[in-house]
Amino acid sequence: MNKAAFYDLSGTLLSGNLVMTHGYYARNDRSLLKSAYQLAKVVLSVPLLFALDLRSRARFNDFSFRAYRGMHRDRLIGLADDLFEVTLKPSIYPQSQALIQTTSELGYRNILVTGALDFTIRPIVLHFGFDEVICNRLEFKNHVATGRVLPPLLAEDEKARRIREYATRESIDLTQSCAFSDSSADLPMLSTVGHPVATNPTRRLRRIALEKNWPILELREPSSQFPPFLSHAKAV
């Protein structure tokens, strides 16, 4: 049986999030005037997004993807590398690369499971060297985004379902696998594997991790220790 390491992205491996991504595309519209207009829209939507995030991650995602409505797919793909350089790369936590390298060396298949959109994570996948990606995709009509995500929206329970589906297809032993996430919204994902790791946890996830005796990992600090099931093998 194979084993896999499932990674959440934003908050876990880097601090960048959906709003920053969308802010980037808004800033880089075809003309300065259009950019200003788009950026204003993003800024105004931030308080609403905060409120939604507290209530439901799925609703939050739904709303934030609506901001892509009317954007041309060429532009979303054409600027993805710049988005990565400008917004996402600087926000990668210092220990992220080392962690991914470790799981890879230990024979885990590295899999990114994220609510982010396919075109935005392409450079990230290549940067970290992930083996597989499970992510959201926008719906396009005639190359223009409709503002909807192709269902089912990848978040919360859906992440766990897709992980189990993937494990069955690729004959992966989930009890031997591990998962990394920062948010309590990913509890279903963390619970499907034998080695869940609360990574840079939110206050809520930290409490739960302590209750369940899950290891807690801080990728933001260069000196933090990897959990025993990884560091043991690393010493060997």
Partner: protein
Amino acid sequence: MKTTETWGEWRWNAVEGKYESGDSASLQGSGEISAIDAFAKSTMLLLGGTGFVGKVLLAMILDRFPELKRLVIQVRRKKKLSGEERFYSEILSSPVLRDIVERAGGEREIRRKVQIVEGDVNAPLCGLSPEQIEQLRGKVDLVVNLAGVVDFDPPVNESFETNVYGAQHLIEIVKLLDAKLVHVSTCFVAGKKNGRISEDAPIVGYFPKRNEGAATFCVADELKWYDDVMEQTRQSSSDTRQLKERLREAGMNRAEHWGWMNTYTYTKSMGEQLVAETPGLDYAIIRPAIVESSLRFPFPGWNEGFTTSAPLVLMGGEGLKGWPVRKDGPLEIIPVDLVAEGILIACAAVLCGKHKNVYHLASADQNPIMLPRLVGFLGMNSRYKHKHKTTGNRLANAWKAYVETQVITVDTLQARRARVHRGLDVIHAALTLGKTLLGEGKVAPYLKSLRDTRRQIRTQEVTIDKFLPFMHHNSFIFETRNIRETARMLTNEDLKRVKWDPESIDWADYWVNIHTKGIERWIRPMFASPKKARA
């Protein structure tokens, strides 16, 4: 593990709407043609196997059809390097072939399968000696010719020697060897035309303006014209530079006279006509559109030389803003590995006797990429490059990063050019005045940089002008029914090895993540220092 080296393994499947790694589901073929069986029984002679398409084709044969009985490759001698030495030292070590050779069992295995003959299509019998012909007679089943001068407007003799006389030499040896022929030409032999171009138009006597007047076109007459013009130009030119320039003009004018856009397409069409008028010859003519970076094989983004859209992509990356293109027209491009696959499919069909005479290998028929979208991509590439540029003028970089590319008309283009040249003239006048007032020392560096700027601008203008027929003056869609029909006749096992599927190309992903990056990686270094690259 994936690294940045293998960025192309992530492919967007536009049909399924998802990223995937590796091959998509296989097609179903009728099995009327079996490429594997046909190749297992055949010996192939490859001419022009050292060019951009040739090397990819060679790699594909070695990698996909190890069953092929024997492969004879003609390689031109290069100064002191014999054809054979050149093949093993230069060709096999090219990035296209390096890994393939490894996979095929190393150089020893290649030496067992491959025979190198030295020669040159420009010479009678393609430079093969009578002994070589004798040795190959009755053994070669198929000759595949990719040799050609692909420069659009070289001195007319260069084009004629390879594309016309070369075709004559080719036909000579095909007849002597009693083989079948696959001859690679170009879609653009259609000349200055618009709309859908059929594969069924008669080949012999074709010229683009034939519907406009009563004139007739025949290759023999053109050869007479060629002899006359060479004679006259040689006599009237005082030095080689002038001679070359006049021969270049002569070719372009003659092409223009019959309705072709340049010497290349004019001479290529004559090559086709010579093939088609040869009695009793089993042949297929392959006409690729503009050949671009590979989509998948041997790895995504492989590119070589300047005969693709590379000069345009590089200029876009440098920050050129105004692009004279048709708003409603596609750019007829096709990835080089699809061309190689198309050629192999046609080869199998010819060997089985189930071929058509003409195969267009193009994309717009099934999956067009419209020119304004490409202009958008060029702008985004410039934005990315200049935002992160640390050298050069900051203001200029900001302009190149944040001002978008636009589609302009040829009139606007001409007006802008005139304005730029007027501006440069004014600067030149001011500097000349400065020179008389302040002396040479202070002004000379500025004059030099002005000269450099002018030269750059002129190169840019010439490049754009060369491409105008393909992106502005004409709008082509080349019909590709023949290759699709022939591909459907293959066996399912064949279709796992070669497929014809330009309809599944996601142009945004291809242009941004494969083609542009391929050009930046493989062509930019040559472009930056052509002298170094040549050395």
